[in-house]
Symmetry: C2
Subunit: 388 residues, 2 copies
């Protein structure tokens, strides 16, 4: 521990960030921007120097107790770093950034960390890139930041972490370590494994086959481009919850495969989309190639996807769309919106489909469902080409 | 078949597009933009009208033989539509747009379609939205368009379809129906099933768990928001190749689960990250929680993902990156690029990491690997903050 001459005034919010990778450096940038004084520590001198130059804080450790010590090192080393620095800073609050919380909780309890001053933490933000060079002050803006509390955790420590989270622009979520780990297994760790399993199929495929790949597959395997060491550690630390989700995934997958085996057997004897003969009654029976389980699965997938929060969420579904074909001439869109306003309808959103060289475009007006019919009628009366 | 008074001049390229959904209407828009005369047909009068108004062609069928008849109806109805219109147009070339080719080949052979005038086709383009309103003239721009040839297919028919593909701005790929179907199983149909299986896990999950979801999961399940009827048909028609890929996926998945079961058993007896005792020799043995199969799988996924063509492909890896911290002042970036030019180095790409309120930004100069060292040295000498 080396002292710095430039100690801040007593009472100002101060933080030590240990580990200047993507997450640590981003926390440093965010807290500095919020007016905190930040010190940085890292075993990697080059990362530490770059984080400092980028404005994430001062390399080195303060002489007096900081408000908070934030540990952003690999999960396996987290508990030891906390224990060591609790011996140096006797009043500071401590938190970590590890993406599995039960394991860290177990580790800090075993090592004898002072639990009154410890709050488990996990900001749910990241990028495909790692290291201090990828850090951003706004990385946590609007993202969830999980805090896990033990019975011994003091109210003061929890309040300090609430300030850290808000200073970073994130939303605090107070949940148990166990609930957190089940949640990230479902929404992060299992999707990671499945992306790798999907992308692994491409590793030794005939190059000719890959030329037909499109954006869907690229999106689906984007997170497969991830660090093997980091992710093996994370999944190992959360093995139980990950296994539980993979087991239920496998249950569905096995049913899909069983159904496909039946269909291929039927197709193999030339009965695709045809009708067979029931030998006992000599009446035709329907040999289905309809895949009822597959259809129900896709419907469940539709429903699951729509439950995700964010841009593609449920909010859009509340509106009805009135499609209008509009000539590609200056002023036509404005004229359409004026006509909608004159019809007494508030247009909630506008989207335009128009490809280069096309003489007309399709304008889609999103409106409240109860006024969609009246708007379509009013526009038709006004001479617009409405396709409701 | 209804005649139109506005027949084009003899010799001009003419097309009939049957089915005015997303694909058919987009083909109509693209061919019209390329100077073709296009007729449109659809059982759905409203779709047909909208496609016509959007400029995809003239609703109705021509009296004389068009150059080509393009059938963009659901796969199950494709062969019958081709057969019927071959009786009307005795010299036209016919093609389809179905996303499974062996099944259509089987169907047209069974029905007795004139194979000399038939070329199987599949433009690999799409959108999450369907219907004529989502159509775009540039939907096929730069995308692969598979053509499948039978021994009886005439050279003239193949040449006609080559013209159609080029007029739409797509790239023709001449492959067998079997190779096509194996390719789309791998790059499209299996990813579709896996996205549904992944998203299905979210359908009945505790809403609290879903609040932690991020962009990775949204991207991974984007294609799960797909039409159950359409996709059940596609997967049923390509059941064999889809099953083969899912079987090899399951082989990997089973190994992942077996490895996780071992780790959870070890963790269950409190030996996580610890060393056990070999009872026979009383010496400590390493009880690994390292997941070697998982690590190798993630590495295979990295390799598979990087083999995908397109934006995120291998091209970027050819360059080395020289990171430079630059003050957020007007003219600094220009000054850096001038300094790089003075060092005799051609900068291939520039990316800037800078978050709001940050006093400095990180500029990453992509250059040929053999000049990266010299550039870093020259910039350091010139007083720049280089972090190579």
């Amino acid at each position: 521990v080396t002292g710095q001459p430039d100690q801040p005034a007593v009472g100002a919010a101060t933080a030590v960030v240990v580990g200047t990778g993507l997450i640590g450096t981003s926390v440093g940038l965010a807290l500095t921007a919020a007016g905190w004084t930040v010190w940085l520590e890292d075993r990697d001198a080059e990362n530490l120097r770059l984080a400092g130059v980028l404005g994430a804080g001062h390399p080195g450790l303060p002489l007096s107790d900081p408000t908070v010590v934030l540990v952003a090192v690999p999960p396996a080393g987290t508990a030891q770093v906390i224990l060591d620095l609790q011996h140096t800073y006797l009043t500071s609050t401590f938190s970590d950034m590890a993406s599995v919380k039960s394991q860290v909780k177990l580790d800090v309890e075993r090592l004898g960390v002072d639990m009154a001053r410890f709050v488990g933490g996990h900001p749910l933000a990241g990028r495909e890139r790692s290291g201090p060079g990828a850090a951003r002050a706004d990385l946590f803006e609007g993202r969830p930041w999980v805090l896990t509390q033990q019975t011994q955790t003091s109210a003061a420590s929890l309040a300090v972490m609430g300030e850290v989270v808000r200073a970073c622009g994130a939303q605090p979520f107070l949940v148990s370590a166990e609930l957190h780990d089940r949640a990230v297994a479902l929404v992060s760790h299992v999707p990671q494994v499945l992306a790798s399993l999907t992308a692994a199929r491409l590793a030794d495929a005939d190059p000719e086959l890959l030329e037909l790949a499109g954006q869907g597959l690229r999106d689906m395997t984007r997170i497969a481009d991830s660090d093997p060491g980091l992710w093996t550690d994370i999944i190992s630390a959360n093995a139980g919850p990950v296994l539980a989700v993979l087991d239920s995934f496998t249950g569905d997958l096995d049913q899909v495969r069983a159904e496909l085996r039946e269909v291929t057997a039927v197709q193999g004897i030339g009965l695709s989309k045809d009708v067979g003969i029931d030998q006992s009654s000599s009446r035709p029976v329907d040999i289905s190639t309809d895949l009822p389980f597959m259809r129900a699965l896709i419907e469940r997938g539709n429903a699951g996807h729509r439950r995700l929060p964010g841009k593609h969420g449920a909010a859009r579904l509340e509106f009805s769309v009135v499609p209008v074909v509009v000539p590609d001439r200056p002023g036509e869109l404005a004229r359409l919106l004026v006509a909608s306003g004159n019809a007494g309808v508030n247009v909630e959103d506008v989207s335009i489909e128009h490809s280069p060289g096309q003489a007309v475009g399709l304008v889609e007006l999103s409106v409240r469902p109860e006024v969609a019919g009246a708007l379509a009628q009013a526009l038709r009366t006004g001479g617009w080409s409405v396709h409701a």
